[in-house]
């Protein structure tokens, strides 16, 4: 399942009506790495991920995953070429059971997914216990785990997460982050959006700071610490 393709985003622009949410973002996720995008509310982080993953249309710019040109592709095509999104607010399919949510992609891909399901249940044992429950009845943390599990079931080479820690208690955040590390260790690249830049920096190889829809700074977590950029969001 490990991939050796890099995600390369060039000059990506997107807008809501007249408001430009992202204005020409360049970004790269090297194969196998963990990349974090940080920034304040309204900086365009979610828009960036949604345009990369085909949930939203971009105005300009290109997205390449290895040799695949993902620019302007629909969400299901992006997913099928190996980039899986875990959206902000989980967005699991509430009236389906946990297992149905997980197998949604299997149904679409017609692959034998036993191993992947076993692995998802290893990462999040609670999902196995709840596999017959409706997804809408899960707690916030469990929904987050389901959303990650659902993304894994599409056999991604890159998993894209939008604020996975939002609204979760610290011990749940720990679980989610530990699972992210295991996922990355298995060779899957990770692109992560977080508010909490310090939390993100603890797992990231490389970081981008987004301000008003533009990349204001980038570098390894150490570089950015020196620049004092990371702390802009909360305490300075």
């Amino acid at each position: 399942m490990s991939g050796n393709r890099a995600l390369v985003v060039k000059g990506l622009k997107a807008s809501y009506g007249s408001i430009q949410a992202i204005r020409g973002v360049d970004l790269k996720v090297v194969a196998g790495s963990v990349v974090a995008v940080v920034g304040r509310n309204g900086a365009g982080k979610s828009t960036l991920l949604n345009t990369i993953c085909g949930v939203m249309k971009s105005d300009e710019g290109s997205v390449h995953f290895g040799d695949d040109d993902l620019s302007g592709k629909s969400a299901q095509k992006v997913t099928r070429s190996g980039v899986a999104l875990v959206p902000e607010g989980r967005r699991i399919i509430a009236p389906l059971t946990v297992r149905e949510n997980l197998n949604l992609s299997k149904a679409a891909r017609r692959k034998s997914d036993r191993d992947m399901e076993t692995w998802v249940f290893e990462l999040f044992p609670i999902l196995k216990d709840r596999s017959k429950q409706y997804a809408g009845s899960l707690s916030g943390g469990e929904q987050q785990m389901l959303a990650i599990g659902r993304a894994l079931m599409t056999h991604p080479e890159l998993i894209v997460l939008d604020e996975p820690s939002m609204g979760l208690a610290p011990f749940v955040v720990d679980k989610v982050y530990e699972s992210l590390i295991s996922i990355n260790n298995s060779g899957i690249s990770v692109l992560l959006v977080e508010q909490d830049a310090i939390l993100a920096s603890s797992v990231a190889d490389y970081m981008f700071l987004l301000q008003q829809g533009e990349v204001a700074a980038q570098g390894t977590p150490d570089d950015l610490n020196k620049n004092d950029f990371i702390s802009t969001g909360y305490f300075s």
């Binding site: 993953c53 085909g54 949930v55 629909s74 969400a75 299901q76 997913t79 099928r80 899986a84 999104l85 959206p87 607010g89 989980r90 967005r91 699991i92 399919i93 509430a94 009236p95 389906l96 149905e100 949510n101 197998n103 949604l104 992609s105 299997k106 149904a107 679409a108 891909r109 017609r110 409706y134 809408g136 009845s137 899960l138 916030g140 929904q143 659902r150 993304a151 079931m153 599409t154 609204g167």
Partner: protein, 310 residues
């Protein structure tokens, strides 16, 4: 005292027979309403389209079957297949031409207006195809199964409605709950976008939904036109109105509910016409409709609701 008692007994027997006859009639009509309601409700629940052209699609199922029966001597089952295929084909073609271009910025109003456009076109074409007449299937198309006792009579068309109705609801329910495509249909019904991030192709889902739904409409049109001895454009419009009432009563969130809604409306309608007043047949149907809209708008089975997931 003796003869009087016998005649009393006889009258009771007659009353009972009449009641049974009418319940059976109601079940047959209700099956048609129910099947139509399922197919109409499935489109609404999955794609948010209140498709007023759906009744006319049923009419076309009947027209196509009649054409092949009259011209090429098709028998019952091959003609049924033609009805299904015609329904599905019209459904898919209209979806590609009229609804698909709206999908990116879709809303209920836009879909409704578009479906009115489709409806006008289909009605005009249907009237032309039928030459503005009411036609009937040749009586020798179906001579079995027929239920005839001294007091009860059920025509083959009615019996097939009562057989195929329950089969179709069970089949559709199983497809929706037990198969991958069914799971995908329900997922897209809940959220198109967030299903796609799982790699679900909304085109495949939409085409299957429309195919299943419009094919089912074709079946209903065909069977009811046999049962009611009537191949005409108003046949489909009648199905649309009653099927619509059935969806509201049963709830469009669940095919079982929609079918049950059809049965309830069919039976109360026929019994009401027999025992209250024939004129009030539609009053009962639409009275039920209003009662449900006011007191239980989500229908008998209701929608599956969850707290805001965050």
């Amino acid at each position: 005292m003796g003869p009087l008692l016998t005649s009393q007994k006889k009258r009771n027997e007659n009353l009972l027979n009449l009641f049974i006859q009418q319940v059976l009639n109601g079940l047959a009509v209700g099956s048609a309403y129910g099947m139509f309601a399922m197919s109409f409700g499935l489109i609404f629940a999955t794609m948010g389209i209140l498709n007023v052209a759906h009744g006319t699609i049923a009419t076309f199922g009947a027209i196509a079957a009649l054409t092949v029966v009259e011209n090429w001597g098709f028998s019952f089952f091959p003609a049924l297949l033609i009805a299904i295929l015609t329904g599905a084909a019209i459904g898919i073609v209209t979806d590609r031409l009229a609804f698909q271009p709206l999908r990116a910025r879709a809303n209920t109003l836009g879909y409704l207006i578009t479906s009115i456009g489709v409806w006008i076109v289909l009605i005009a074409l249907g009237e032309t195809a039928l030459d503005h007449q009411i036609k009937t299937f040749p009586p020798d198309l179906l001579s079995w199964p027929r239920l005839v006792t001294t007091n009860i009579y059920l025509a083959p068309g009615q019996i097939w409605l009562m057989i195929i109705g329950p089969i179709s609801v069970v089949a559709l329910y199983l497809v929706l709950t037990r198969t991958p495509i069914g799971t995908m249909i329900r997922a897209v019904g809940f959220s198109d976008v967030w299903s796609r991030i799982s790699g679900v192709s909304s085109t495949v889902v939409i085409l299957s939904t429309v195919g299943i739904s419009a094919g089912l409409a074709g079946i209903v049109g065909y069977l009811s036109s046999i049962a009611f001895d009537n191949v005409s454009v108003p046949l489909g419009e009648g199905l649309l109105l009653k099927g619509f009432a059935a969806v509201v009563v049963g709830g469009f969130g669940d095919v079982r509910g929609a079918f049950l809604g059809g049965i309830i409306i069919g039976v109360t309608e026929v019994l009401g016409a027999q025992y209250v007043s024939g004129d009030f047949r539609d009053v009962i149907t639409f009275g039920l409709l209003i009662l449900f809209l006011l007191f239980r708008p989500e229908g008998i089975f209701g929608e599956i609701k969850f707290g805001a997931a965050r």
